[in-house]
């Protein structure tokens, strides 16, 4: 089995192996922070930072890893960078840090990152690992933004806090509450599956 190149790793993360819609990883954060676009984008940026740093670091020390200790090493590496991201947010974007609450520290246990360390960074060189990290975190951010775009506009009539729909729009409050997250995620997941089924059908014919 040949290992994928840096370019393949990058492309795969965005759609074919999208962490949310294809691998269904990191759903806790996905459901929790997507009630508006601002926090979705912030979350995406934090994951991008952590994932790139963690993948790079793990890739550099990949020859020193021992099988029975590797998960601990991954977790400690990730925790270091999550702490950096968390403190940076608290220092420069305090209201956002408050709004996201525990979900930034919880990136430590986000499966996407441990999964990428295990699947890619522990086996391949730094360049591939960074490309993989970029692809996966862009895919994750796109998924968050797609969910948040639907939920914010239906729930508040706004995007990024700016009014998009007329003031007469009745806010669908349920969309910014947890049930709205599950409903939107289910519907969008169905939509992506339906689209890929259509495309697969076309290729066959």
């Amino acid at each position: 089995m040949s290992t994928p190149s840096a370019g393949q790793r990058f492309i795969r993360g965005i759609l074919p192996e999208n962490p949310v819609y294809r691998q269904m990883l990191g759903l806790c954060a996905t459901l929790a922070v997507t009630n508006n676009l601002k926090s979705a984008v912030t979350m995406g940026a934090a994951v991008l930072f952590v994932l790139v740093c963690a993948n790079l670091m793990v890739s550099l020390i990949r020859h020193l890893l021992t099988p029975h200790l590797r998960i601990v090493i991954f977790t400690l590496t990730i925790a270091t960078f999550v702490t950096v991201a968390d403190r940076l947010l608290a220092a420069f974007l305090y209201p956002m840090s408050k709004a996201l609450g525990p979900y930034i520290p919880l990136i430590i246990v986000n499966c996407i990152i441990i999964c990428r360390c295990e699947v890619c960074a522990a086996k391949q060189g730094p360049l591939t690992a960074v490309a993989d990290a970029l692809g996966q975190s862009i895919g994750f951010t796109l998924a968050l933004v797609s969910l948040a775009a639907v939920r914010e506009i239906l729930g508040t009539g706004m995007w990024f806090g700016f009014r998009v729909l007329p003031a007469a729009w009745p806010d669908w409050v349920i969309m910014v509450l947890p049930p709205g997250a599950f409903l939107t995620f289910g519907l969008l997941l169905g939509l992506t599956n339906w689209i890929s089924a259509q495309r697969a059908g076309k290729e066959e014919a």
Partner: protein, 333 residues
């Protein structure tokens, strides 16, 4: 293979009058007894709803007509669209979408804005029913799914305070609903008003007599399982007696039974044959569970009424109840 199958479906859709993917099957014994079809059952429900519809139109006038028209149009449209998306003929003739529409409309307040009916119908049929695979497959009562969605979304317009419209020309619409009036200010509505329906409330729930008449018709026609309303009302009465004792003053157990959506829910919402248990024992458990939850929500929560949440919660337990109460096969110990 898949391409071939979908091609066949398309031609059949145009030419054949019967959809080959929908084969009618029925459990044995195959006796000729007038055919208990979905359509007959749904027509029974519509007939049973007639007194409620009449009472709603009599008491709420134009608002009731408007709400039912909106919900009917929206539900039937969404049902047709969902069927077309699956390349099936729209099953509008079976009447199930119409029943969902009327029950949803009757569960909304007279003051509900037009979009509440439209969005409620879209969610009821689209998410509550079609997403699960259509009639017979839905886990939750579609009308209540739609109502829960709009009630949480538009809490200001559809919550307890939304029922009151101080500027309304219709006198009862300017008052609080009986349950809200009692919960907030201890005002007890007369039993006669509750029986006839001369109170504010969701369109179909106000008249206890109309609910009873329609409900008894349904049970006698066996289009609704009598065990569900019976156990639900019995448990609700038991809770009411536990709370108030056998008093004849203030908010008596009779008020608990006739007020709010208890009777409407017991006969028309909880008895939805798709989302309620199949076994006799299971139906008793299910009804009792709803009755208990309604009273717990009424007495202990901030909501004045809890039929919708109680039904949805017990809908979620229905598969489990069915499993618990499977009768042992003949010959087994």
């Amino acid at each position: 293979m898949t391409m071939k199958a979908s091609g066949m479906e398309k031609t059949d859709l145009k030419n054949a009058s019967v959809d080959p993917t929908l084969t009618e099957v029925a459990p044995s014994p195959h006796l000729v007894e007038g055919g208990r079809t979905t359509r007959r059952m749904m027509i029974d429900v519509l007939v049973a709803l007639a007194p409620l519809v009449g009472a709603a139109i009599y008491f709420f006038r134009w608002s009731a007509v408007r709400q039912m028209a909106i919900c009917l149009a929206a539900c039937l449209t969404v049902e047709a669209l969902c069927a077309l998306m699956r390349r099936r003929r729209p099953p509008l003739a079976d009447g199930s979408a119409a029943v969902t529409a009327i029950i949803l409309a009757l569960s909304l307040p007279a003051t509900a804005p037009w979009y509440a009916g439209v969005i409620g119908s879209m969610v009821a049929i689209g998410i509550g029913k079609a997403l699960f695979g259509g009639l017979g497959m839905n886990l939750f009562n579609p009308a209540m799914v739609g109502r829960a969605f709009v009630m949480i979304s538009f809490a200001g317009a559809l919550g307890a305070a939304g029922y009151q419209d101080a500027g309304s020309a219709i006198d009862i619409m300017t008052q609080a609903t009986p349950l809200t009036a009692f919960q907030q200010s201890g005002v007890v509505t007369g039993l006669a008003d509750l029986l006839i329906g001369r109170t504010n409330g969701s369109l179909g729930e106000t008249s206890a007599l109309a609910c009873l008449a329609g409900g008894l018709f349904l049970c006698l026609r066996r289009s609704a399982a009598w065990r569900i309303p019976a156990s639900m009302l019995a448990i609700a009465a038991l809770f009411a007696i536990l709370q108030t004792g056998f008093t004849a003053q203030g908010w008596t157990p009779a008020h608990h039974l006739c007020g709010g959506a208890l009777l409407f829910g017991a006969f028309f919402i909880a008895t939805d044959p798709v989302s309620s248990p199949l076994t006799p024992q299971g139906q008793m458990i299910y009804g009792a569970g709803i009755g208990a939850l309604v009273m717990i929500i009424r007495i202990f929560s901030g909501y004045p009424e809890g039929v919708m949440f109680a039904v949805l919660l017990m809908n979620g337990l229905t598969p489990l109840i069915n499993r618990w109460t499977i009768p042992p096969p003949f010959g087994e110990q």
